[in-house]
Amino acid sequence: MRKVSIDPITRLEGHGKIEIFLNDEGDVANAYLQIPELRGFEKFCEGRPVEEMPRIVPRICGV
């Protein structure tokens, strides 16, 4: 199937890409949104002092 990629998606915070599969008639058979990023805050915040959380987690999103 023909695939149209939108990569990267833009004008928002974060990373994403969209893959659109077109059938023989040129209609959309399916579309997939994928997020190609992960930093692991959920894991590396473990073990950090609780009072430091307000200085670490705002770096999840600077917008």
Binding site: M1, K3, I6, D7, P8, I9, T10, R11, L12, E13, G14, H15, E19, F21, A29, N30, Y32, Q34, P36, E37, L38, R39, G40, E42, K43, F44, C45, E46, G47, R48, P49, E51, E52, R55, I56, P58, R59, I60, C61, G62, V63
Partner: protein, 325 residues
């Protein structure tokens, strides 16, 4: 004559550096006047294939923020390096690893386990983990490979300039843009900040650095006029490059080192271990043990923003920790 071309890109980032560029307010229009922005995912709709189509060195200036922790980020860093005359590591993440570099205290397997299997909000009973290649009925989908280790931009490509800070202050951003516009960039390899430490530039009253107890920042309300270290609060100022305007200290919070190590300090965390242990007054085994106990998270405090740039770079995982899946 064609306007110079500028690209901005974000890797393992939060968007704060891009917002900082926008915080230049009306001056952003000056930037747009003097240059053609050819990539800026937060604000403009250019795609990777537009960059791939360019000649090598067609981009005059690339401001690259975010750390490198997956194969796509590494690929785009190399792509932009090929297409750019000048590459700037913009912000603490690109310069030193930043907050994402705390991921070097763990690895991919542990992160996947926590995020996709253990997290209380997960609805993933089949324990599906992200794959680099996924077959669907229509074809194939690809995701980048998450690395175990976070790298700085300079560990992956050659970098001409470093703009530290989380985020870089507006006045430093404008200094860089101005220097670029006038063709007056400093020597290659420069870090755009002060050559002194934050401690040197701090105007709090400093008497004698001698403490007998370390307080966690929430345990006391520090006197806003006196040195934080002298009040027993760990402040990373002595081993942090200046130039930030002491934004945190002015809010009565200790520095956490987002401008990275000062000149001549090879390893920020080691310098801070040395500094804190030096000022602590304690010589008996008990007093020393108490000091060690009072520093609740040495690695996370002394390497808060610069773990990827440190000599050890990452935690050595034990044989049973984070088994590769």
């Amino acid at each position: 004559m064609a306007k110079p071309k500028v690209a901005l890109y974000w890797a393992a980032a939060c968007g704060g550096c891009d917002v900082a560029v926008l915080d230049t307010n009306e001056k952003i229009l000056d930037i747009a006047n003097i240059a053609d922005i050819v990539l800026w995912p937060v604000a403009l709709d250019f795609k990777y294939h537009h960059i791939e189509a360019m000649e090598d060195k067609a981009i005059d200036l690339c401001l690259f923020n975010g750390a490198i922790r997956n194969s796509e980020q590494e690929k785009i860093a190399k792509l932009l390096r090929n297409k750019s005359k000048v590459m700037v590591a913009f912000g603490a993440c690109a310069c030193f690893g930043g907050i994402p570099a705390l991921g070097n205290l763990t690895n991919r397997a542990e992160i996947f386990q926590r995020v996709y299997v253990e997290a209380q909000s997960d609805d993933n009973s089949n324990k599906v983990l992200p794959q680099t290649l996924t077959k669907v009925s229509e074809g194939e989908l690809e995701l980048p490979e998450l690395f175990d280790t976070v790298s700085t931009l300079a560990q992956v490509v050659d970098v001409e300039y470093f703009v530290p800070g989380c985020p870089p202050p507006v006045d430093i951003i404008l200094k860089v843009v101005d220097a670029f516009a006038k063709g007056q960039l400093p020597p290659v390899g420069s870090v755009i900040g002060s050559d002194k430490t934050c401690c040197d530039e701090c105007d709090r009253v400093k008497e004698e650095k001698k403490i007998t107890k370390i307080y966690r920042p929430h345990e006391i309300i520090p006197d806003p006029k006196k040195c934080l270290l002298e009040q027993g609060v760990i402040c990373c100022g002595p081993a942090t490059r200046g130039g930030c305007g002491l934004r945190c200290v002015k809010a009565n919070m200790p520095c956490r080192g987002c401008f990275g190590p000062p000149p001549k300090v090879a390893d920020q965390g080691a310098a801070l271990v040395s500094a804190i242990a030096s000022i602590y007054q304690g010589n008996t085994e008990e007093e020393i043990a108490q000091m060690v106990e009072e520093v609740v998270d040495p690695v996370g405090t002394f390497y808060r923003f610069a773990l990827a740039d440190s000599m050890l770079k990452r935690k050595r995982m034990g044989p049973t920790e984070g088994e590769r899946k």
